[in-house]
């Protein structure tokens, strides 16, 4: 079991508000981790610190054992160039897709390889074709985002992240903005990705999906990992009162669950 990502005593504050209060986490290659927790508990902030969309206030992120940033006497200092390189290696998918509206689906997926990786036009095209095919949208290659359903847009967004051939994928409530009937197709795409061995950190309220896809479930409360374990351990037999309360409020395992296999 190779470790791909490690967070050591990660803290993040926004002004006086401390959102992450010392997160420790080791992620193995190919592991699928689902983060659950109440709104405001710091799930998004945790994901965003992993790819440095937010700079941690203190603590350290290790990728393949290598620490990001440089330790100085006054804390860890980061160089923007290093951070853009880290971001290029970690894919992120957002709740609101954030596709580039002035580009077709194909151009959206080609954009990362083209602008960031400086791939040749053929290579960009190849990667984009492959990823669009993988999410089942090669037939929509020339459509603009505005011509796609929410579910299709989110699958293009996943393809866009995958075209960078990331080592880790981060998903932040990627089905929360979708009409219920469009949730399944996105969850299926994610499940396929997990089955292929992609390392994934997923924030979701789809507990049925979490149960079927996760190797490990983390329950976040108030900036701490309050409880973690296998899906049955956390979702079916939680130990902590806060976890039980959270799950009760969720009528867990509600549909839609993806029709797997």
């Amino acid at each position: 079991m190779t470790e791909i990502l490690r967070l050591r005593n990660l803290h993040k504050s926004f002004g006086p508000l401390e959102v992450l209060k010392g997160i420790d986490l080791a992620v193995a290659q190919g592991e699928v981790i689902v983060l659950i927790g109440a709104s405001g508990s710091g799930k998004s902030t945790l994901l965003r610190c992993i790819n440095f969309m937010e700079i941690p206030t203190s603590g350290r992120v290790f990728l393949h054992g290598t620490p990001v940033g440089r330790q100085t006497s006054s804390g860890v200092s980061y160089v923007e160039r290093e951070l853009t390189q880290i971001r290029a290696r970690i894919g992120m998918v957002f709740q609101h897709f954030n596709l580039f509206p002035h580009m077709t689906a194909l151009q959206n997926v080609m954009e990362g390889p083209r602008t960031v990786l400086k791939c040749s036009p053929d290579e960009c095209r190849n990667r984009a074709d492959n990823q669009l095919r993988k999410v089942g949208l090669e037939w929509k290659a020339d459509a603009y985002p505005s011509q796609l359903s929410g579910g299709q847009q989110q699958r293009v967004a996943i393809a866009r992240a995958l075209a960078m051939e990331p080592e880790i994928m981060l998903f932040d409530e990627v089905t929360s903005a979708l009409d219920p009937e469009l949730v399944g197709e996105v969850l299926i795409t994610m499940k396929e990705l997990a089955d292929e061995g992609m390392t994934m950190l997923i924030v979701t309220h789809e507990l049925g999906f979490a149960y079927s896809v996760a190797d490990r479930v983390l329950f976040l409360a108030d900036g701490n990992v309050l409880e973690q374990g296998s899906p049955p351990e956390v979702l079916t037999y939680p130990k902590e009162e806060a976890t039980k309360n959270f799950l009760r409020g969720h009528s867990s395992f509600r549909l839609p669950e993806p029709q797997l296999d």
């Binding site: 790819n51 969309m53 923007e80 160039r81 853009t84 390189q85 971001r87 290029a88 290696r89 894919g91 992120m92 957002f94 609101h96 954030n98 596709l99 580039f100 509206p101 002035h102 954009e111 990362g112 602008t115 960031v116 603009y144 505005s146 011509q147 967004a157 866009r160 992240a161 960078m164």
Partner: protein
């Protein structure tokens, strides 16, 4: 009213009017060609420069936008040479004035366009590993510019109208030429009518072209937004 129209007298000097129109277009186009990139630079400095840069740039923009263009023109034509000791001809003074003056307006148009883009676009490009410059160039500006086109057009037309001020420092633009012809032929009504018609035709044609481009762009992406 027994006024007898006589366009023939004026049409004999039509080549002079055309020359004036060409000169007007020269000033307008050059001011645009210089003013747009300077405006973009000013906008970026105002948005992303450090504090030491941001404040003076903001002040410069506000100054250029709030002082009368004719005062600026006179300053560059009459005052600047005293300061530098270098004579400046009416053409250069005009270009300098209107390039700078319109750059201030374009800076505000650019800034408005850039900040109007959803932060999700910055997030997505950043998450892909783009630098801020790459995000700007590939993702933000292409979308912002599309939204700015109506404001650009309005500014460009406004600019062409404002360039009539250059006649006050004896630059031979359309208005200056019309005025000379009027004085030599005593046919002010005809001359200025024709000059106005020429302004109208050019500006109207420009706005038609831009409207067509706008419509094409709308089909390309914003259609079902």
């Amino acid at each position: 009213m027994g006024y007898e129209w006589d366009f023939l007298v004026v049409l004999r000097d039509f080549d002079l009017l055309l020359l004036g129109l060409v000169n007007t277009l020269k000033v307008t186009v050059l001011a645009l060609v210089l003013g747009v990139p300077i405006g973009l630079a000013l906008a970026l400095l105002r948005l992303y420069g450090n504090l030491v840069v941001r404040a003076p740039v903001g002040l410069l923009i506000e100054f250029l936008r709030t002082t009368p263009p004719i005062a600026q023109l006179f300053w560059f034509f009459f005052a600047l040479p005293i300061l530098t000791g270098i004579e400046i001809d009416p053409f250069r003074a005009s270009i300098l004035t209107f390039a700078l003056q319109s750059s201030a307006f374009f800076a505000e148009v650019f800034r408005g366009g850039i900040v109007s883009i959803d932060t999700g676009q910055w997030e997505a490009s950043k998450a892909l590993g783009m630098s801020r410059n790459e995000s700007l160039r590939r993702i933000i500006l292409p979308q912002a510019v599309k939204r700015m086109i109506p404001a650009f057009l309005e500014r460009a037309i406004e600019l062409m109208k404002t360039t009539t001020l250059v006649s006050t420092i004896s630059y031979a633009d359309l208005l200056y030429q019309a005025n000379s012809i009027a004085q030599s032929t005593y046919r002010s009504l005809e001359v200025f009518s024709i000059a106005a018609a020429m302004y109208f035709l050019v500006i109207f044609a420009c706005s038609m072209i831009v409207r067509y481009i706008e419509a094409r762009l709308a089909i390309a992406s914003e259609a079902a937004h």
